[in-house]
Structures are given as structure tokens and as C-alpha cells.
Symmetry: C2
Subunit: 411 residues, 2 copies
């Protein structure tokens, strides 16, 4: 059976990814929630802070008692007590009085401002001089000023950063609903592929991709499940895909898309009754012979066996699929992992494909330069030397030396 | 005892961090090495590839047999066999012959180039037409072309990315020497601090910092060890520091540096015979009351209790210390986690301190803008709204609306 597949553009493939549903939520302890993706909006259950408190070390005062105070003409206040940390300030502050308190301390009734300790001097135990006037509410965080009860603070789809974790802790959220980490099965295919601990005979290659892909899956917040090396026989591929379907959310067939094996890949995928091949060939270089299929609603990518092509496809196509499965809100903002640099030499482009060129960044006196890395796309060492990728758009003849280009930085 | 400490600049503090030694190395399986820091140079034990191989699907040929070939005047070659994947190509290629092979396949003796399958047509089983000439070595990766035996490929101090893991796998490096992850003890101090699951009474605050700091430690490649909430008593602090010294590489005292407790912190640190306080106050805002000490050669940071100040100090000072302990090669390059944007309003600066202002990034038609986030520095919600920090240098009066500023992006 001869089949013709039309190359799809990157945008067409990205649009197809939207069909795959977001993974289920799970609730985990806050300690483990860093870098996970929130599965529900979080609203503040109460005001933060729950009381008016000092945000500087110093003295609680009535602001009007300090009006006009200066080093030449200080205000004198009598010390009527001290607010201990963690204690309820019960003793009211009368006019002309001050009470010591530290950052975070509760304002006593009657006080409406805090004078920083730097602008005071104690005269014995009973009196302070104040050298600067404070306005009402100065150096005070009012009840609800940080967070008002009921406000939605973090939205579903946010990746939790350290400060987000801190806010959740401040709100008493000890268990957080997050998306399950996508389990990603990695099947290395090819009769020439051997375990990395084996010594290759001529014609054989070590299984670099299982390791590189697993690392990239981790970098994207997924949980890699390497299923080993699968020999190039239909039954072996069918069995491996069946195992992977049962235990994972996404299947990566490394080396399942080149001329030698793509018929095998197509046959193995088609042997499942609910399979559909969505993409067979993408207008991208490197990485053209990429397959995207769905089996029983689960996505499967057939990746080129070339490590460089596989890593580029991971970055350009598989990472967005993982973001889709995680329910990440929106695409990565354009200022993340992107820099602008000038290209240090001309780059020609193959017609009809988007090209991704490996570049190394170099900071010179006249700014940041992107040096294209020469070498065939099969050489993994070129990826190791590179800091990122420059995209040559589809309908251009290439890029010129000195042109400003956007560099997608590697993780 | 009254003591005077001179505020140190950020650069002075960073210079002091260099005294702390790099942690020991450990050898771990390659599967776990992603994002770890290499502890030794890795040289290639052998050539990669170890044989001349095809980097395209097609036919192994003698290049000269294709010279002058075109669609109008194809070259005819006889098919003398096929090189199976993973097999040694033993059958020599005679002039006028071609052998089928796939990407990665070994070149047979006598062949010096590969014609891509796209430029050929099979005429029966025995003959192909070739429509394009190939140069010698075209579509061939020569032995050692990716990596030559003995070349140093990855240097000690490199953080391992997916492609680096792939290269190590290709070289058969199944166990990797990396730096131990820094164990970082986090001690939350303060009588007003309560566990996050408790309901705060007036005057009390939940322990947000232990969680936020732990997340930031993870983001920097460290291993957080939260040691709980320590009451404000000298013996309690001494005991907690002693526990931390035994089990960790770096101690963070959250809330141990403000007016109310800094004497306690200094006393607790000084009670250890081999302690030295290196820094007591940094010319930075927020985060001025920061302590850096060494006890028996181990570093200790006293961090402000304000979550925002603590997180800023983590980013500006503690992260470089973790990089030092990890032996990370060089500072983070200036194109990492940095973007240039225009400031949307004037920012005044306090004299004598470097200020770090929280900003949110906004992409408009006329480019990227940094919107300063208003609100007192004690409000953790301001960090949650922000994408990064803008630095106002020490000896400036501030920054002007429309000025181009560098934004340090949060992780």
C-alpha cells in the first residue's frame, strides 16, 4: 500500500496537540509542590495579615504626636510598654505614648503608625526622642493589605515558583491540587541500537536517545519511563506500544520515523483498532520525518533516530504537548528562554522547511553574537557546543550576517 | 557590648563567598545526572562514530559514479546488496554499484558517499537511477567526526543538560562524577511564627519562609532540610545550629537578622568557638539586615524574616553561594534569566543602597515594558505578581520612565 503524506507545518502540528486532554489532578503536600502546575484557582481563605502590624522595627505611635518632629526639634514620647513578638497587643496607646515593637509585631489599640528605630533615641527607660514625623499608616501593613480574603491569588495552570509556595504557606494551604506529572514512555527502536554499557561493534550505536529524551522529559516536568531497546520486528513494537499504553500518558518512539523503519512504525500503530496517524512528516529541519499519532486517545510521537533531530523535535513539538497535558496556562511568554543576538555569518535556508540552526552565544564589546555551529545534523557534539537555536522562518531565503535574530535558549 | 558593623556592598559579600570550598564529588547513574554539576572533565574514550556511516537514508555509492547525474541524464547503478542496520558492511562496493542503507548504517568498503533516496528511483530490483551527483563524503559521517577519542567534551563545573546526557550515553559513560547536592538547613526563628497548619492568633504569622526558601533551594540544585520553628531563646538557637552543623553544608536562619533578634543571632553564632561573623548588614534593599557567618568553615546566612527580603537575598546572595559549593563554572552568563525592557514609571532610589524593585513584564505593540509593582516590601503578594527584579545601582538617584533596564527573571 503506497501512501502519501503531506508535510505539516509546525503551526499545524501545534494546533493538533490541543485535542489531547489535560491530565487529572492530584493533591500533594506543599513541600513537594515547587515547579508543579496548579490544577485549581486558589483564593485567599482569610486576610493576610489578619491584624495591623509593623513592617519596620521601632515604636508604635500616634502619627499626630510626631508631626513637626525633626533632629533640631524632636518629639518626646513616654514609653508605655513593649509588644512582644507573637503576642496580642492589648495595652492601648494613649496620646503622647510609644510602645516598642519589632517588624511583624501587632499594633496596639490607638496606634496608627510606626517610627523606625533609626529616627529615635531612648532617654533612659521611660522616654524617647523622635527625630522625624510619620504619616498615619507609615511603616504599618494593614489587615488584608497583602491579601484580601476571597481574592484569587494563583490561577489554575500556573507553574508554582518559590514565592507562590511562600504565599500558599502564608495562607495555610498545606496540600495543593496539581496536575499529575505526565508519564512518558520512551521506546528506543532499531536493530543497531545497543545498551550504553555495551561496546559497539561496527554498525552499532549506543542508545543515547533514551537518556537524552528522559532528561528533556524531566526538564519539562514529566516522568520518563524508559522501556528499553525494541528490535525492528512488528510483534516486538506492538508489544512495547501495548505496554506503554497501559502505563503512560505519552509514548515516544525514538528512531521510529526514518525510511528504514517508518513502515514498521505505521504498521505497528495501525494495528491498534483505535489508532489514527495525524502527522507523518513536518516541514522542519532537522526533524522532518516525525510522526504524530493517537492510539485510544493517547498521543504517540515517532521521533527521528538522530539525537540532534530528536532533541530539536522535543523542544519544538513535544514540549508544547507536555504543556498541554499539564494544563499550563498559555504559551511560554516570549521573554522566557529567548535572547536577541546578531548573527555572525550568513545562513542559507532549505526551501519549504523551517530550519533550526544551533548557535553558540558570545558576548563581545559590541554586544551579543550568535555563532552558528557547523557540522552535520547527526553530530550530537554540535548540540553540546550550542547554547540555543535560531529559527529560519519558512518563506525566507535565509538570514544575513549581522542580522538580529532571536535565540531560543536550551534549558 | 556595643558593636558597629559596616554595611557591605553586594560585591564585597560575593567576594567573601569564594572562601567556602566546593563540595565533594559522588558518582551517580547517568539516569539521575540531569541538571547535576559535573565534578571532573570528561574526555571521549573512543571515536564517535567508530565507523563511517550514513547520515541520510539512501544508497552507498562511489561519488565519482554520480558525477554529472541530473534528472535529464541520470546515472544508472546496479544494486549489489543492502547494509542491514547494526550489521557490519562486509561486502565491498565495486564501481558502478550501489548498496541500500538507512541513516546510521555502516558504509561498505569502497563506498565514499550516500545518495539520498529522494534523488533515486529503483528500476526493478537490480538497478537505480540517480538524479543528482554527490561529492565524496556527502551524507556520510566519518569515523571520529562527531567526537575524536581523547577530546575533552564536557568540563568540570558544567551543569548537565539533556544533550550533555545524550553525549555521555553515546560515549558509554553510565556513571558520572558530580558534585554532591548542597544540604541546606532552614531554621525558622521567631516566637510569633507558627506552623502553616495552625490558625494564627493576632500577632502570630504562619511559617511561609521555610517553604519558600526550600523551594528556592531546590530551584538552585540544593537539598533543603527544614528543621522547624525555633523559639527565641539562646539555648534553642544553639541547639538548632548544632544539629544543622552536623547534617548540612549551609545553614539559613530565617528571621534571625532583624532588630528584635539580631543580638540573639550574634550571641548564638559567637557561642561556637570557631565562629566568625563576616557580614552584618548589606547595602541592599530589601534585605539590609542580612548576616553572613562561618562556623567551623561552614557558611551560615541570617536572613530577614520578611518573605520578600528573604527571597531577594536568596536570589542575589545565597544562590551564588550554592553555585560556589557546587563548583559551577563561572557566573551565570548574562543572557540567562535576563531581559531588557523599558520602565513604565520613574523609580526613586534610597541613597547608599542597591535597590531591587519587583516588576511585572508586559508585551505591548511598542515592545516589552517593566511595570513596577507597588506595595510595601513586606507583602509577599507583590512577589507573586512580579516576573522579576530591576536593580537600581548604588550611586544613582533612580531610574526614569522609558529608560531601558535589565530585568532579572525569577526562576
Amino acid at each position: 500500500m503506497l501512501e502519501f503524506f503531506q508535510l505539516k507545518t509546525i503551526e499545524e502540528v501545534l494546533a493538533l496537540l490541543e485535542r489531547f486532554p489535560v491530565l487529572a489532578a492530584e493533591t500533594i503536600p506543599l513541600q513537594q509542590a515547587w515547579n508543579r502546575v496548579l490544577a485549581a484557582d486558589v483564593a485567599a481563605p482569610a486576610d493576610v495579615p489578619e491584624f495591623d502590624r509593623a513592617c519596620m522595627d521601632g515604636y508604635a505611635v500616634r502619627a499626630r504626636d510626631t508631626f513637626g518632629a525633626s533632629p533640631g526639634s524632636p518629639a518626646w514620647l513616654s514609653i508605655s510598654g513593649e509588644v512582644a513578638m507573637g503576642a496580642v497587643a492589648t495595652q492601648p496607646l494613649a496620646p503622647g505614648q510609644a510602645q516598642r515593637l519589632a517588624t511583624g509585631g501587632m499594633l496596639p489599640p490607638g496606634a496608627d503608625a510606626v517610627v523606625m528605630v533609626e529616627y529615635t533615641q531612648e532617654l533612659g527607660d521611660q522616654t524617647i526622642e523622635v527625630y522625624r514625623s510619620v504619616a498615619p499608616l507609615e511603616n504599618v501593613v494593614q489587615r488584608g493589605e497583602d491579601v484580601t480574603a476571597g481574592t484569587v491569588l494563583l490561577r489554575a495552570g500556573a507553574r508554582l515558583r518559590p514565592q507562590d509556595i511562600g504565599l500558599l504557606a502564608a495562607l495555610g494551604v498545606a496540600a495543593v491540587p496539581v496536575r499529575r506529572r505526565p508519564r512518558v514512555a520512551v521506546l528506543a527502536t532499531g536493530d543497531e541500537i545497543i545498551p550504553i554499557t555495551a561496546a559497539p561493534q561496527p554498525g552499532q550505536m549506543r542508545d543515547a536517545n533514551s537518556y537524552a529524551l528522559a532528561a528533556q522529559i524531566m526538564a519539562c516536568g514529566g516522568d520518563p519511563q524508559p522501556l528499553g531497546i525494541i528490535p525492528d520486528r512488528l510483534e516486538a513494537w506492538q508489544a512495547a506500544i501495548e505496554t506503554a499504553l497501559a502505563a503512560s500518558d505519552l509514548i515516544l518512539l525514538s528512531g521510529g520515523s526514518s525510511v528504514g523503519t517508518r513502515d514498521l512504525a505505521v504498521a505497528a500503530i495501525r494495528s491498534f483498532p483505535d489508532a489514527e496517524i495525524l502527522v507523518h512528516g513536518v516541514a522542519i529541519s532537522p526533524g522532518k520525518p516525525t510522526i504524530l499519532a493517537t492510539i485510544g486517545g493517547k498521543p504517540l510521537f515517532g521521533l527521528p533516530g538522530h539525537p540532534v533531530s530528536a532533541l530539536v523535535i522535543m523542544d519544538i513539538l513535544v514540549q508544547p504537548l507536555l504543556a498541554q497535558l499539564l494544563g499550563l496556562a498559555g504559551p511560554e511568554p516570549p521573554w522566557r528562554r529567548r535572547v536577541t543576538a546578531r548573527l555572525s555569518r550568513n545562513l542559507a535556508s532549505a526551501a519549504g522547511r523551517e530550519e533550526f540552526v544551533r548557535v553558540r552565544l558570545r558576548l563581545a564589546d559590541d554586544g551579543l553574537w550568535a555563532d552558528p555551529i557547523l557540522g552535520k545534523s547527526g553530530l550530537i557534539s554540535t548540540m553540546v557546543k550550542a547554547d540555543g537555536l535560531v529559527r529560519i522562518p519558512l518563506h525566507t531565503e535565509g538570514l544575513e550576517q549581522g542580522e538580529r535574530v532571536e535565540v531560543r535558549l536550551f534549558r
